[in-house]
Symmetry: C2
Subunit: 443 residues, 2 copies
């Protein structure tokens, strides 16, 4: 056969004979007429097989959902009355001339339109990912990821590769997977934190994207045991506000890219691309707790962190008060942040750290880090940890580091919140959970 035409390009081929390839989405048998909706990566189109094309009709009679076929057909404009308004390729129909079956498929385990529960959806991912809704989610995810890189490249950040196998469970036990590393025990990295800091000493500005691993036993709609972390880190900052500004610009760029490349996907999923303000509002944790008390009547002033309900309230407040879907909360207590977090000289006991909240949930954690060697050793000891175990990481500071900081965010959670997908597992291609790695695990 001749050159393949993508279904997304059929509009420009009316009156022409084309060859298209794809999957049978559905086949409807009207006796003499057989209708086929054919799907390829670019779209979907209705085709009709007329009885006068006998060979094609005989083959069409056998076709079922998910069979892979090559079709030779004529692109016909529908009469005005027959145009399906608002439907993809609704103004045209393919008259099938020849069919070549490339792959058959077994009968599907459920109807294509069936509402599946999460477990069934996950059991059949190689099939259930093939819907246009799911494809939209992961197309958007790919665009977010590339926008993250493009923005940082434009700001002279260098991409680095951080290792996932680490030697010491240095930060202290909870939530780390063990690895059998030849004769030794190793662990899976929960973040690229140490490596990106080390690389600030080399390149000043670095970013990395890759899988990280959390051995969290709870299975919620917002946690994953393995996810893609988007991280950047840069030096010669004044304080955490430089990082927040960088993230602010990054999010504006991501939103712009999504508008250009994914409006169709957002429309399909009935989600809105967020407006990112020029200056995302920010407040200290204690101010945020005052707001919660005043506006929502709950006293959480003595708590060292925000509960999920508090995050939802603060987002609601930010929308109402500042017309912003985003709000930074800064100055978490020293005790609640990792040992490398920078304490505010002018607000002792509190750190130059921040969370970014968006549509009711934290989507980023970041902050300025300690760059002074002696202070960092003190920070490690204060957490009851052994500086000796951090000797490799500590070299970066021993041999001169500028003031620096950065942030990390989960790509899947970000995708889910952008698209209003309720469960982060539905914004993860192959989610790992305590009882499932692709298939359910034996207990």
């Amino acid at each position: 056969m001749s050159e393949r035409t993508y279904i997304g390009d059929l509009k420009s081929k009316i009156g022409e004979e084309v060859q298209i390839s794809g999957w049978v989405n559905v086949r409807r048998d009207h006796g003499k007429l057989i209708f086929i909706d054919l799907r390829d990566t670019s779209g979907i189109v209705q085709m009709v097989v007329l009885p006068n094309h006998e060979e094609a009709h005989r083959i069409a009679d056998r076709l079922r959902s998910e069979w892979v076929v090559e079709i030779k057909g004529m692109v016909n404009k529908r009469p005005d009355k027959m145009i399906k308004e608002g439907e993809e390729n609704g103004e045209l129909e393919i008259e099938v001339l020849e069919i070549n079956v490339m792959s058959e498929a077994k009968e599907l385990p459920f109807e294509r339109e069936a509402e599946l529960n999460l477990d069934t959806y996950l059991d059949y991912l190689p099939l259930t990912l093939r819907t246009k809704e799911k494809k939209a989610v992961f197309k958007v995810q790919a665009v977010i990821l590339q926008a993250f890189r493009d923005f940082l490249n434009s700001k002279n950040f260098i991409e680095i590769q951080a290792p996932k196998i680490i030697g010491e469970d240095a930060e202290g036990g909870a939530g780390v997977f063990g690895v059998d590393y030849f004769e030794n025990k190793a662990y899976l990295a929960t973040s690229p934190q140490f490596y990106k800091q080390i690389m600030v000493g080399v390149f000043e500005r670095v970013f990395t994207t890759g899988n990280v691993f959390r051995a969290e036993k709870h299975s919620t709609t917002r946690h994953l045991n393995e996810y893609t972390s988007l991280d950047f880190e840069f030096g010669f900052i004044k304080d955490h506000h430089d990082i927040m500004k960088m993230e602010n610009q990054l999010l504006q760029f991501v939103a712009k890219e999504l508008k250009e490349k994914c409006q169709k996907e957002f429309d399909l999923l009935k989600a809105e691309i967020p407006e990112v303000p020029n200056e995302i509002p920010f407040m200290k944790l204690r101010e945020a707790q005052e707001v919660i008390k005043k506006e929502y009547g709950e006293d959480c002033l003595d708590e060292p962190d925000l509960e999920p309900q508090h995050e939802r309230w603060l987002c609601e407040y930010s929308k109402k008060k500042f017309n912003s879907d985003f709000i930074f909360i800064t100055h978490y207590p020293v005790d609640k942040r990792p040992m490398y977090t920078y304490e505010d000289e002018n607000d002792k006991g509190f750190t130059k750290s921040f969370d970014l909240l968006f549509r009711g949930i934290e989507i980023t954690t970041g902050g300025q880090r300690i760059h002074n060697y002696e202070s960092l050793i003190k920070g490690i000891e204060k957490k009851g940890l052994d500086p000796e175990k951090f000797s490799f990481y500590l070299q970066a500071f021993k041999y001169g580091m500028p003031a620096h900081g950065g942030l990390g965010m989960g790509l899947e959670r970000l995708t889910a919140k952008f698209l209003n997908v309720n469960n982060v597992k539905e914004a993860t291609l192959f989610p790992r959970e305590i009882n499932r790695i692709d298939t359910l695990l034996n207990k």
Copy 2:
């Protein structure tokens, strides 16, 4: 102080007062005159501290290598006789007015110019990565990686996230790391193979970049226990030549990007950006073995694979005969390739698979995959494996897959070969080996 000027931009600031920040590369004390080479992410510059700037002179007296400083200084053009030809910023010198120490550094464990053995280099990576040669290697690596993505995005591939924790050590034991996954045993993925194939069923064309893990006990100059794999896979192909063509174009694009963005780094490392021919030559394994016999006198006709020396000879031959640094070797025996490899109908016992050789070594493995469900089950059984263990993966084929294929290549090896770096560990930021994860492991 005022706005920071990058050292790379000083040429346009002659006669101006600037603020620059960076690391002291070296400091030379000539009594009254103190010279400092200052380094930032963009370059290096010589500075002089005159005794009449007393405060700056007193601080400069204390400075040592790797201290991080902010400098206020005047950009002076050197007299014609004093211009250092061929040296970065050789036409100018900074007269230091003020120095602000941001971070001190301990005394270095070795001289900056010392030739280090590999173990010492690896022991001190947070420091030893700071040389301009090492920075050049990893800048080039970042550009290769982004070029890989940009090319595939331009060809309508979608980026996917493949999980690294897998449930079954399905392909059979050797070379896989075990993970303690709650109450179960899991493994680290040796490649994203199954997931990218599954995703061909969803998006037709996909790529992914991420860490993979090989529990290989040998420590050589070409192997790593963890590396970054660049993978793509696409459907509706005719045969493996479609994949080879795609790789050919990809490599041309990578070379073009390197020429535009990294000529300086290649010059520094005395390496040449390869010319990628419009059609990389290809031959079957058996033809290649005939060449080896005829040209180099070694009879390896009965061997199922190529030894390292054979790969070197074939590259030499390709350069001489076809003026190509690259050569594809196709049609490895069915027995030597994974169970999903497509057998050539017209050359039974041999597969539509290929390796790409470049400058003496294999840099890519790829091929067409089996897309027929029943054939794939047979392929699995033929390898003595249990199809039941592949049930999740097999769904993709059960529910209709087009002819497809793809390839994988190691980013670190590719970087090393492009730059003529002898040991792949020196093209890996934080290489994992049997006895080392950052620091040497206890036995």
